[in-house]
Amino acid sequence: MEARFKPGDAVRVRKVYPLGHIRTPFYIRGHSGVIERLCGSFGNPEELAQMRSGEPEQPLYRVRFRQKDVWPGYRGNAQDVLEVEIFQHWLE
């Protein structure tokens, strides 16, 4: 599958709650960040967990979020960041 995003692109994590083996943490769903890097393409864990092939492989990104955007009342440097690996089909 083709990578739709490049480093520096603004993205938002989909705010949905499907059942299954999901590698997108709850706390980051619905939040906006910036692509830090493309990590490559990997088998889709949601499919692999069901004993299926995991194909097509999904591009995996590291997405950078500002802590103060993620946590209300975050205490610390305003530049503190949180970087999370997120598969392309979770980004919009």
Binding site: R23, C39, F42, L60, R62, N77, V81, E85
Partner: protein
């Protein structure tokens, strides 16, 4: 002799492990010896491997550049094989501190650090490291200035992370071996920084 050991019945997961292992052996898929050897292999990996990588990066600028670009292939140069997963090395700087967590489970660079410590797998560390990293670091005895920016890395998928700490002042001219000795497991997870011994 009286045995006063405190025996508990197997937990659900222990029972599942034993049942699965016995079945695999019974069906001739693996042998007991292979299981024992695999467990030994895992136990033989210690944080000294990661420390070797860090010390090499401190003394060899070219290696450091390659390590930060592609951790997996740089480790292969040292004969350290990192199968299937990709290693991302993140570098500390005077104004930037990196810290690793896996909020979903316990993803950890086992090929370089061995088995993760119990606290790394605890709900306490996993939930708080992303939300209040400064408070968590303070509990480890690491008090960062407000001016230091913290980058927390949540290993949620196929990457594994290693922190490249800063070489402490006063360790100039040290050999790689001597440098490696001050790089602890916690320094490479990012909950400590190297200190002179």
């Amino acid at each position: 002799m009286k045995d006063s050991g405190n025996y508990q019945p197997y937990s659900y997961f222990q029972l599942m492990e034993v049942s699965l292992r016995e079945l695999l052996v019974e069906k001739g898929i693996v042998t007991e010896a292979q299981v024992a050897a695999a467990v030994e292999d895992i136990r033989n990996i210690t944080p000294e491997r990661g420390a070797r990588v860090v010390a090499k990066a401190w003394v060899d600028e070219g290696f450091k550049t390659r390590l930060l670009q592609d951790g997996t292939s740089a480790c292969e140069e040292l004969g350290l094989d990192i199968p299937a997963l990709k290693l991302v090395v993140v570098e500390n700087a005077p104004a930037v501190h990196n810290m690793i967590v896996c909020t979903l489970c316990s993803c950890y660079p086992r090929m370089l650090l061995g088995m993760p410590p119990e606290w790394y797998k605890s709900r306490n560390y996993r939930s708080r490291a992303v939300r209040e990293p400064r408070a968590v670091l303070a509990e480890f005895g690491l008090h960062l200035s407000e001016k230091t920016r913290i980058r927390v890395h949540d290993s949620t998928a196929d990457m594994r992370y290693l922190v490249l700490p800063m070489r402490p002042a006063g360790a100039e001219g040290w050999s790689e071996g001597r440098l490696a000795a001050i790089v602890t497991r916690d320094c490479m997870i990012g909950v400590a920084v190297p200190k002179l011994i």
